[in-house]
Symmetry: C2
Subunit: 340 residues, 2 copies
Amino acid sequence: MNLKQLAHMLALSQTTVSRALNGYPEVNEETRRRVMDAAKRHGYRPNPSARRLATGKSGMIGYVLPTGTAVDIDPHFVEFLSGLGDYARSHELDLVLSPADADDQETTYRRIVANRQVDAVYISSPRREDSRVALVSTLGIPFLVHGRSEGFDFDYPYLDIDNEGAFHEAARLLVQLGHQRLALINGDDRETFAIHRERGVRRALAASGLTLSERHVCSVVMTEENGYRATRRLLEASDAPTAIACSSLIMALGVVRAVRDLGLTIPGDVSLIAHDDVFPWLKPENFSVPLSTTRSSIRLAGARVAERLAARISGVEEGARGEVWPVDLVVRGSVAGAPA
Amino acid sequence: MNLKQLAHMLALSQTTVSRALNGYPEVNEETRRRVMDAAKRHGYRPNPSARRLATGKSGMIGYVLPTGTAVDIDPHFVEFLSGLGDYARSHELDLVLSPADADDQETTYRRIVANRQVDAVYISSPRREDSRVALVSTLGIPFLVHGRSEGFDFDYPYLDIDNEGAFHEAARLLVQLGHQRLALINGDDRETFAIHRERGVRRALAASGLTLSERHVCSVVMTEENGYRATRRLLEASDAPTAIACSSLIMALGVVRAVRDLGLTIPGDVSLIAHDDVFPWLKPENFSVPLSTTRSSIRLAGARVAERLAARISGVEEGARGEVWPVDLVVRGSVAGAPA
DNA sequence: CGAAAAAGCCAAAGCGCTTTGGAAGACTCT
DNA sequence: AGAGTCTTCCAAAGCGCTTTGGCTTTTTCG
């Protein structure tokens, strides 16, 4: 059942039927009702391909997925996706993932924009002066950054959590508990969230006249194994920290294992606070010693990103609004006063 | 730059240019070269919306993403996606995720098929007589099932791993080591993989005249917490098992924690084998005691699914071919002879 | 050499929708 | 009552591609 048939059946023109369906004003309410009714009754659904060709709108949002045999997708992605889906589902928004060579995403961005394949895109895990952000903002397609990119002289819309504030709070707590030597096991330090977290820790330490030794900050891909290795290295050194801030729950698994392997205990010998993105399958309260965390649901962020993207597509949201969510500090058993 | 312009520029008709570009035979090789060349030089890319409208082909593969506030996306999904992306990237295949209410995916399947939004779909985590498999095969769109669905009287194309064989091998090893009481901590028992794994364990036990007690098989959502709970329950019972087969690495984290909490050891008091889908961020060899696993890369499966889907779209692959991959049993420190 | 077949190209008709530019009729207002 | 204004609808022109059917020209072959 296409528009032509429906129009013929109603003895109306395609124009009128189309307008009635799309809520244009120049059609009699009575007529509109008739049309709406008939459309529903016959299960008429406009052909999206045709609509796309005519309008250039696709009803989909895009994400360029960096891939490559040496590239691993962030496990957080799936939670983010859950949130995105929660919103998108109720708005018949689809998400198209365009896999791209991680080293050349530009080609793909240009392609999906030139082809009008999607109405908007989002960018995640931005780095300093992230080239994707610069590119997309010149391309003139609605977009939203999940996270932030620094170093630009222009503004752009984003949604981020207060990573600096979160790690500032975490470090401040540890300092208050008497810890003098803190360590930070961080993610890839090219990513903004890692920069912000380090900044937060440094600021908290500085407030008490302490500093974060270069040897006490690790920047690694966030795997269990890297958490383990970093911790071994930290704790086996002569100036071993007494407290660790860690950027992910997965790395924290490795931290805990390393501490145990060394015959030490949490929080007796070392206090630990990790960031929790809220996974359904791994919870900080279930660690062998319940883990203190800075908590922020990445899933909720996903839903919000979808919502704002939809708003930008429809023109409801404009401009370069940045939105920063506060992060909860949840104290559990993994922190204690510094050992004597 | 559209076809019309390109054709005009070459003093040819749109027909000829289109045919030259799409490899149709009725065009002079010399002409084809000229066209190809000009197209490349001017960076001409056919507008996919227009092509879609004309051909009905979209160049995308689809996946209906079950969502809902109480629905969590499987963390394995992201690895599968990596593999899918690895292949898709080099073939300019995009993936469209259509979020759907987990309890009503049919509507969404019908929509994406009716709208010709995608050229093929894949289905994952199928259950017994999975309604999606039945639906999609009547809808007449190329598809592939990742996993298997049982109980149908028709065949369909799928890619699965030998879950039964894997867990049969695992259980057989444990039995050979003298274990008499095995337990299985499994995933949701409505899913085929869980059914197959249980079958594998039972078969191995039966071969030695043993049985799998109903109290020794747990069917739970695969989270760390559920692994922990199941293990506590199992080991605190009077007929505690001496060996556990576990369906996921994430649950195995919980198993290990529970065993430790009870003051027991692996493999001294209980042997453990888990299935490993090969995550980059959590490796069995890095468990406190290296974990024996049945291993199969879900990422490779993702790539293969994309490859076969592409083959089906282009008509290279036809019929209901089922493909079953063998699974490696990797023995590490977590298994030992049964305690006396 | 001439008929039949093949090769190479084109005009035009879709694909199914949106949107422009009217046009006819109904209403208002002086 | 006539001019001007709304209201309501329509025909037709795109959007940019593929594909059908046909028309020339060249090649093949008895």
